[in-house]
């Protein structure tokens, strides 16, 4: 696989509507872009030969959900962070087959609606639990809740 260098990658990513500055930390490149066009992003990633490793959802206190798209391209890790707007994000499953189960899982655990997903039905959630049952704080917040 031909790996573009970080500058070339940054140029392509900067062309995505709503993109922000790419930052290097740890072993990866990170971008925080609340209003990124995720479908445009997915198309760019496919054209670059990036593989979607997964997406991480995290509940926010304001009821929205932070979603990080984790990509891999050879030795480069790319992490693009955005968040839901009114509990929704556009689905990228039509562009990335592997996103289908990932989006269904985030829908189960965090009640995010991925608009345009062809089959956003229950994947791993036990039927007796409501969607979004993982929306609780972690870290110090989890200890406070327990106390």
């Amino acid at each position: 696989m031909n790996e573009p260098n970080e500058n070339a990658l940054a140029v392509r990513l900067a062309e995505i509507p709503g993109a922000a500055l790419l930052e290097a930390h740890g072993h990866g490149l990170w971008m925080t872009a609340p209003h990124i066009d995720v479908q445009h992003m997915a198309r760019t990633m496919v054209s670059l030969g990036c593989r979607l490793s997964t997406m991480s959802g995290t509940a926010r206190e304001n009821g929205e959900t932070e979603v990080i798209y984790h990509y891999s391209l050879g030795r480069t890790s790319l992490n693009i962070r955005t968040h839901t707007h009114g509990g929704t994000l556009p689905s990228i499953s039509a562009l990335e087959r592997s996103a289908s189960w990932i989006e269904r899982e985030i829908h189960d655990l965090y009640a995010v609606t991925f608009v345009g997903h062809p089959n956003l039905e229950r994947l791993i959630r036990p039927p007796q639990l409501e969607e979004g049952f993982c929306r609780e704080p972690g870290g110090a917040g989890a200890k406070e809740a327990k106390a």
Binding site: S53, T54, S56, T58, H70, R122, G138, G141, A142
Partner: protein, 359 residues
Amino acid sequence: MPYTIPIGPYHPALEEPYKLSVSCIGETVQSVRLDIGFSFRAIELLAQRRNYIQDIILVERVCGICSHVHTLTFCTAAEEIAGIRVPDRARYIRAIIAELERLHSHLLWAGIGAEDMGFQTLFMEVFAVREKVMDLLEAISGNRVHYEMNCIGGVNRDITDPEAILAGVKQMRAGIERDIVPSFMKSDTTRARIAGVGILTREQALQWGVVGPVARASGVATDVRSDHPYAAYEELGFKIVTRTEGDVRARIMVRAMEMLESIRLIEKALRELPNGSLRAFEGVPTIPVGESTARSEAPRGEIFYYLCSDGSDTPTRVKIRTPSFVNLPALEAMSVGQQLADMPLIQASIDPCMSCTDR
């Protein structure tokens, strides 16, 4: 008129619970639908309620086969946030256990694959060798399944007698080279049963984003040990194994050849095991505010962790993506046009782990 055959969630052809709804015309598969979640334990949610030490115990229990690689990846993510450099001896020990674990997993799978083919004698041979791997893991860690070797900053136990482990590995190599690899690579019985079955082309493999032996059997040269080297793989000089046929046989051949590469890595790591400490520090780790991702090559492919810390002793988020979670959906692509009777074998060829998938 198509009809639908349900297989599972509890069925003798499946090692763990999940459901395949196979739509057929005659004996030919038209489409497959998968239902998962029968082993769901909410481990990610539990992990953000527990401290880092408790989480190591927890994530080890995501899977009974690849337990070491889960703790290794979790610890690597925490070490990256905290800027902890793991001592060389610990990195080598991590790689040795990871490769023994891969042997254990591939042999377990090979045994099940042999049984699914109706090759009972091969099943017996494979499980006799697997028992030797279990003995070695027990000799090092005291445990046959959950080895509890990793801690943040290093490992909990040393390998005090590398020569004794090398002698055991030598016995295992003989069994794998003499019986297992030829049976899978050269046997006419095996070839007749599995060649050309359940093909996943390279294009499909890329499209579905599969990982591990499933990807490598379809000609996609991806392996975290070379793509994002960790533990001691940079020094050990890892050699990737690929095939281009993309069928059940190619998946078997990749795993067979990977067993020999694992043995080479274990032998090299044991011979070159550096002196030094096992841990970067003593006591309880402090993980500052930050976030990181970590990848490792589990026996079934890339395992991915995202870890976020608010500086307390409990992570704010632990995301776990296992290889079976991305490999299983590709079963839909492998199955279309195949014979219904081949479905148990095709699904087994991706070595699905439902404990990992459901978490």
